[in-house]
Every structure is written in C-alpha cells, then in structure tokens.
Symmetry: C2
Subunit: 158 residues, 2 copies
C-alpha cells in the first residue's frame, strides 16, 4: 500500500478512503520540558513528570512525559493530519494503549497510522468503523507508544 | 469488600495493600467550558471540542470534552487519591478505554477504582502488578468513561 503523507490524508476524506493496509505518517512535534511539567502539574502530578531534579532519583533517571500527555500530543498530530474534517464523527474508544519507552524533553515525536479494518455499519448505513494502529515514534524511529483506535467515519454522499 | 474513600488509599500504600475486589472512590473535579476549549485547542482541535456555537450543529448538540481530556482529569484524581506516592513505579499501559457518554461543561466527575488483580512479579520479586478497573462518573452517577489500567507497585520493605 502507498505510504501517504498526512497532508494527503484527512481533510475531506470519507469512510471509503480509509483502505485497510494503508499507512500514513505525520510531521513532528517537539517535546519541551516546560510543556511536560505544565501538563503534569495539572493532570499527572507524579515526581518523575513534574520535577527534573527529583526525577533523577527515580527509575526513569530524569524527567519523562506523562503517558496521557504523549497521547494528547499524538492526538494533535492525528487531528491535524489524519482525521477527516468533514466525516469524522468521534470515537467509542481505544484499545491496547502501551507506553513502551520514556518520552523526554527534546524528543521529536511523529505518528504512523496503519488502517487495520474498515467496516460499514449495519445499523447506520451512512457510516463505517475504521480501526487503526497508531504508533508514536521518536526522532530515532523508536516506537514510544502505541494504541489501537476506532473512529466512526461518514460515507461519501452520507 | 470495604468501599474506601480515596484519602484512605494511595499515600504510603504498597503492593500488599491493593486487595482484589476492593473499591475506592474519589472526590470530584468540575469540568469547565474554558478548560475543555483550552485542552482541545492544544491537543484535540475538533469543532465539537473547541467551538460552543459550531458544536451545536454536530451529533453532540453542544460542546463536549475531548476523551483524552477526560482521561487526564481522571488521572489527576487517581494520582491525588489512589496511587501510592512511595511505591508506584509507573504503568506499562491501559486497555479497553471506552468513552461512553459525552462530558459537558458543568459536569462534576469522580473516579471509582476497583482492584481486579494483584500479581507479584516473577522476574522482580520486590514489586507486583496491580490491574484495576477505572470508572469515571458524572454528577448523576453515570459512567462516562472507563478503562482497565495496570500499575507497577513496589512491595513493602522493597
């Protein structure tokens, strides 16, 4: 399957455009110490997310981003580049969320989305379910987080 | 099993204190329109999360919180009340994340955590895995989100 840049995906795409096996990759987002701390103070105030000095004495050996923060940064890339702006209705959930490697200040994250399954809804024929594997990569190409997401996407001429 | 208030949990608890079947409930957090929009502009800029007027024309009929924002608000309650401050090492991931009902401005969310399983690590005998069902409830007692989390927790006298 073609490896589509993200800016060729999303936008005005509809259910029919999400072909199983296709892979889309995004641009990058820079992870900053300031943003790691700001997010964590508000939502995940554990010392290895909020205090660069105290974090050195933890198993992480330094400040790491909250896993929920990594998910949020990935979501920004997904919304900007992958989700349809005209046909995406929302998501009932995600599965198998895995935080595989620490995300640290200075990392540059990108997202790779692989369409796993596209299934027309039986109860609502104007839409379908798109199941995708989302992988978050750092600047070394290492997958730091992954999850499987489900999106509800309207069909063309819905 | 006793229904422990959150302030009786967390704190200095260790692996041995997470007993399968026990249930812990938290205090509440108020969801504001301002915070919904602020989070979504940064991490999930879809119109039903960022624009109260345009959101009325969507399937949600008004502004709703990003699912990742709901997860982050729940995490704050979990960290403040449930996770051990001395023995919690982190989480390899979560499963079966479900966004079940819309979360709207003015909602008051709380968290109910049920310990599903506590298993001593075979490779690292100083710690164990605690698997929990996390349910996020609104002011009407309706479960708006749920997921199953795994936490690595050090044993007493680790």
């Amino acid at each position: 399957m073609p490896n589509l840049p993200f800016d060729a995906a999303g936008g005005d795409q509809c259910f029919e455009d999400f072909v199983p096996g296709s892979v889309r990759t995004s641009g990058t987002v820079l992870v900053t110490e300031e943003e790691i701390i700001e997010f964590a103070r508000r939502y995940d105030p554990q010392v290895f997310h909020t205090d660069p000095v105290a974090a050195r004495k933890t198993v992480y050996g330094g400040l790491v981003a909250s896993g929920w923060h990594t998910a949020a940064m990935a979501m920004r890339l997904i919304v900007q580049n992958y989700l349809s702006h005209v046909a995406s209705v929302g998501s009932p959930g995600v599965d198998e969320v895995r935080w595989l490697k620490p995300v640290r200040p200075g990392d540059r994250l990108s997202v790779r989305v692989t369409v796993l399954e596209a299934r027309r809804s039986e109860s609502k024929p104007d839409r379908g379910l798109v199941r995708s594997l989302v992988e978050v990569l750092n600047q070394d190409g290492v997958v730091v987080m992954s999850f499987k997401g489900v999106n509800i996407v309207l069909c063309r001429n819905h």
